[in-house]
Symmetry: C2
Subunit: 174 residues, 2 copies
DNA sequence: GAGTACGTTTAGTAATTACTAAACGTAATA
DNA sequence: TATTACGTTTAGTAATTACTAAACGTACTC
């Protein structure tokens, strides 16, 4: 009944693709991860191509971002010039890796622009009601971003704590 | 120097738009929120239109999703048939609201599909190595999703705890 | 050093998403 | 009942993003 295993794999892959899209990633990326995740062996780029139905080019570029996120790992076999890929199975590690990735890049730049707004106002201060109001609001927002920032840094630092433990702890706080 | 306040508002709005896009929301949505956030008074739909440069239609639809997320609030004035909008300033409340929103919808459906994969395998069991392997992997993924689920439920339950406190607590765990 | 087996880049296309313009519905006002 | 002042819906367009097909580069093999 290997036929129905094929169907199960296909359904699973579709499900992960949906989840991928939900989180704002291309669905092809989800498909690639899914295929690797349920494969007992490391797969070559061409094997991924046939499993997902995407082209080499697409797999090549998307798998690079998956690797950068720490969701897949590239390896090689001696005397074989193909690259082989496996899925990361420690999702907690993957989350940390993604957070680290986001630490730099776009988001940081955008957050910095809020801080810039604040210093621009300070450097150019006008004492009136609206000015004060806007300043206070922007400042509150910046504090919120700072909190997010330290939260994600804290999560990054947690080496071995499983997500379920974090859940329990938050549960106790209620 | 009200002219430079206008510039500051514009820069701030642009920054928030970027952040909005980063999180996978339309940048117009970010602009609408930003304009409301730094406005001392509640704004009507048409005022938002002139401030953001979007059309009525766009503001109408996007503000509805902002309201559903709890990021803005709609209000009315007696003897005035306009709707007025204000920004939510308690971001922690907004986060809870967004999590609650996501609890239903797409993501849940996708996660359910993983669970379906598991039961499909159980109902149709074949005893061989690959089958066992795939089952174990899918099961691990499902446990991860369950953990995420209880984490978000736990966060939703925390009524009054500020985000910065959560940060501190996670810091201690290290 | 010609042929082959790869991964990558690029230029173009398909699909999706964000938005506009304008018609529409509704309720208050005259 | 006609007019006005609103918010919503809809049908189409612009912009963005995901992807394909094919050329390309590189390095290994004979």
């Amino acid at each position: 009944m290997s036929q129905s295993l094929a169907k199960i794999k296909k359904d699973f892959t579709q499900g992960i693709s949906q989840i991928s899209r939900f989180w704002g990633f291309p669905k092809g990326m989800g498909a690639i991860f899914a295929v690797l995740y349920i494969s007992p062996t490391a797969l070559s780029l061409d094997e991924i191509v046939t499993e997902t139905g995407l082209t080499k080019g697409a797999v090549s570029t998307e798998i690079r971002t998956l690797a950068r996120m720490g969701l897949v790992h590239r390896s090689t076999k001696l005397g074989d010039r193909k690259d082989y890929y496996t899925a990361e199975t420690d999702f907690y590690a993957a989350i940390r890796s993604i957070l680290q990735e986001r630490q730099n890049s776009e988001f940081d730049r955008a957050v910095r622009s809020v801080r810039d707004t604040l210093t621009a106002m300070e450097d150019n201060w006008v004492e009136n009601e609206e000015w004060n109001f806007v300043y206070a609001r922007v400042q509150a927002l910046q504090e919120f971003f700072d909190a997010i920032d330290s939260l994600s840094k804290a999560v990054i630092k947690l080496e071995s704590l499983g997500l379920s433990n974090v859940t329990k702890i938050l549960g106790v706080l209620k």
